[in-house]
């Protein structure tokens, strides 16, 4: 890790989740989640499907409502107040499994939309910011195309750039590579690794264990709505403690 210049973790708390519970009707999806994330941390959340990992990070920017416990993001406590939620959402970037770019807008318009309307940035400045981040994800030449004309990997990189244009302090990734062809996974992971080296606080739900080893400073394993185990990546992969974790790791690393 030669270029790991900026990857220190500070003492400042970015996200603080205490005693959080969530139900879908009668179904208890998230059970007593306690998680504190320091600024600059790169956390990978792994676990079998249906274990609540996506739901957990979607609670952080209130795409999902939680019923019990508290979530504090950047010192703002998440409540049902819409102004409060919009504030947190503009500070927290998110990338989705299916990119969710806006198909009726060009790549550049996708990136400038939120800065112009939410941050009230002048259009010209917003376009400069957008081009800066499109260069960072290495697709400035696609700025005037529409999302449908791009490959999956390119679309996901645009989605990352779109989030970055809001200058978020925290980035959430919800399985960003699982809808991609194998050839394109690397270009997205490279972008995410670069982002980590810039010191971004990141929470990634992913099955890319190579990425976890290389970038994460903490791996969280979830099952049945609970945090089962968390550890530094080396310890997590080489010396898993719980039986459930061992089984999961043997299944995904087994071939």
């Amino acid at each position: 890790m030669t270029q790991a210049t900026n990857m220190q973790v500070s003492d400042e708390i970015a996200i603080n989740i205490q005693g959080m519970n969530k139900w879908y009707g009668q179904f208890h999806v998230l059970r007593d989640i306690n998680l504190t994330v320091q600024r600059g941390e790169r956390i990978v959340i792994a676990g079998p499907s249906g274990s609540g990992k996506s739901t957990l990070i979607r609670c952080i920017n209130a795409l999902e409502e939680h019923q019990q416990g508290s979530i504090e993001v950047d010192g703002t406590v998440l409540s049902s107040d819409i102004k409060n939620i919009d504030k947190i959402r503009s500070e927290v970037g998110m990338c989705f499994q299916h990119f969710n770019l806006f198909p009726h807008l060009t790549i550049l318009e996708n990136c400038t939309l939120a800065p112009i309307w939410v941050r009230k940035t002048p259009k010209k400045e917003a376009e400069e910011i957008a081009m800066h981040f499109l260069e960072k994800v290495k697709i400035p030449e696609q700025a005037d195309k529409y999302p449908g004309q791009l490959s999956g990997g390119q679309q996901q990189r645009v989605a990352i750039a779109r989030s970055l244009c809001m200058k978020p302090r925290i980035m959430l990734f919800d399985e960003p590579t699982s809808a991609l062809d194998p050839e394109m996974i690397k270009e997205v992971l490279d972008t995410m690794i670069e982002l980590a080296h810039d010191g971004m606080t990141m929470l990634c739900v992913t099955h890319e264990m190579g990425f976890a080893r290389q970038v994460a400073n903490r791996v969280i394993f979830m099952d049945q709505g609970q945090i089962v185990e968390q550890n530094e990546p080396e310890e997590f992969f080489n010396n898993p403690q719980s039986e459930r974790t061992k089984l999961f790791l043997s299944q995904i690393l087994g071939h």
Partner: protein, 427 residues
């Protein structure tokens, strides 16, 4: 060779043109008209029918009489031959267009309004036109009203100023909350219009055109007035109803659902009868409530319920991820609807919306049932009942169909062009 499975291609084959027998008009004819015995027989049969229709219809059309004072005179000229008496169209053309009571020397006013209609609708339909033309679009309802109904220009100007005043008040109070802004704007506009009523009465002579009351409107003009006003009102109302039906607030959702389901469950004809007769019972005695206005309200309610359901289909067709992406960027509800959701949902809904709009335009002929003299009402009433033209059916209803067809086909062609313009998702 067969047991040797190793293969390496060293040079790429260049693309070659298809064989000549697979292109051109002959191929098309053979494939589409004479591909087998049955199709060949059907093709010949169809050609025969086209020939018979042409032989019957073309002489009737081409030998038609365009200049005669009455059906009797026309038949005398024809002298037993079978041909159309199109003279009724030339003779009663103005009545077909403007109705039979609109002052003859004022025909230039609705004609001018009709021409201005195109200029003011154009910037809405074609986004490449200069945006400044939208000023004309905003002013058109008031100009059009003044031209067609006449009276002093002060009244429409004051009505327009009432909207401007309401908007100014809205921006002033919007900072507190959207609801406060909206309510204070409505109150401000109503107070403004109340005072403006006295002002325009006092100034009733200023730039006054000869006033024409609503009951004197008629002909195709009436269909166009009802069609354009109702379509342009029911689209925004339909959007609001569709969004309201999706709302998480139970009261708003309930109101929208009840409205849509009730209106959709009632025939338009009954609504028109309500507008014509029943509504008068509910209004305080002595209030005169313009008949055209009542009909406009009813047709607008009717079509906005349908448009709301069409747009709801478009909203439901959007992936949930679009809502989530808009939310995750911190856009508020109004922004995410206006910038992300509605542009896509409306694009999906274009065929359905056009369907409703075309249907609505044709349904405006139903007002002939409540004794308004629109194009069909004019034909069924004053023209066919007159001694000169009693019995001319084909020519009149053919012409009416043709007028409606031109408009509806134009709308349909525009919508297909618009769909192609908006196709950016490259599916």
């Amino acid at each position: 060779m067969t047991d040797n499975i190793a293969f390496v291609r060293h040079d790429t084959l260049p693309p070659a043109p298809p064989p000549p027998s697979e292109t051109g008009a002959i191929k098309w004819v053979r494939e589409n008209l004479f591909s087998n015995v049955l199709n060949s027989v059907l093709t010949l049969l169809a050609l025969y029918f086209i020939y018979r229709i042409a032989v019957g219809f073309l002489p009737w059309m081409l030998n038609g009489i365009w200049d005669a004072p009455s059906l009797q005179a026309c038949r005398e000229i024809l002298n037993g031959e079978s041909a159309g008496c199109f003279a009724v169209l030339t003779e009663r053309w103005n009545q077909l267009l403007f109705g039979f009571k609109y002052p003859t020397d004022q025909y230039w006013r609705p004609s001018l309004a009709f021409i201005l209609l195109f200029a003011s609708v154009a910037p809405v339909l074609f986004s490449k036109l200069p945006r400044k033309m939208l000023i004309l679009t905003a002013a058109y309802p008031f100009i059009g009203f003044w031209l067609i109904w006449g009276g002093t220009i002060v009244a429409p100007v004051l009505i327009a100023l009432g909207f401007v005043f309401g908007y100014v008040v809205f921006t002033r109070f919007e900072k507190n909350s959207f609801a406060a802004g909206l309510i204070s704007a409505i109150i401000a506009a109503l107070v403004f219009w109340y005072i403006a009523g006295f002002v325009s009465e006092a100034l009733s002579g200023v730039l006054a055109l000869e006033p024409v009351p609503s009951r004197d409107m008629g002909g195709f003009m009436l269909n166009i007035i009802l069609g354009t006003v109702c379509v342009s009102l029911s689209l925004p109302i339909g959007i609001l109803l569709a969004l309201g039906r999706q709302s998480r607030m139970p009261i708003i959702k309930g109101i929208c659902v009840v409205f849509i389901e009730f209106i959709r469950g009632v025939p338009l004809i009954t609504l028109l009868f309500v507008a014509n007769v029943v509504l008068a019972y509910f209004l305080p005695p002595g209030t005169t409530f313009d008949l055209i206005l009542r009909v406009i309200i009813m047709i607008t309610m009717f079509s906005s319920a349908y448009i709301a359901e069409v747009i709801r289909g478009g909203l439901a067709a959007l992936p949930k991820g679009q809502y989530e992406a808009a939310d995750s960027l911190g856009l508020d509800y109004a922004q995410s609807m206006r910038l992300i959701i509605l542009p896509q949902a409306l694009k999906i809904s274009i065929p359905g919306i056009v369907n409703v709009a075309v249907g609505l335009f044709k349904d405006t002929t139903l007002v002939s049932v409540i004794s308004m003299f629109d194009l069909v009402g004019m034909i069924r009433g004053p023209i066919l009942a007159s001694t000169e033209w009693n019995g001319v059916y084909w020519e009149l209803f053919g012409a009416a169909s043709f007028l409606f067809f031109i408009v509806c086909y134009g709308i349909s062609q525009y919508s297909q062009w618009l769909e192609r313009q908006l196709a950016t998702d490259h599916r």
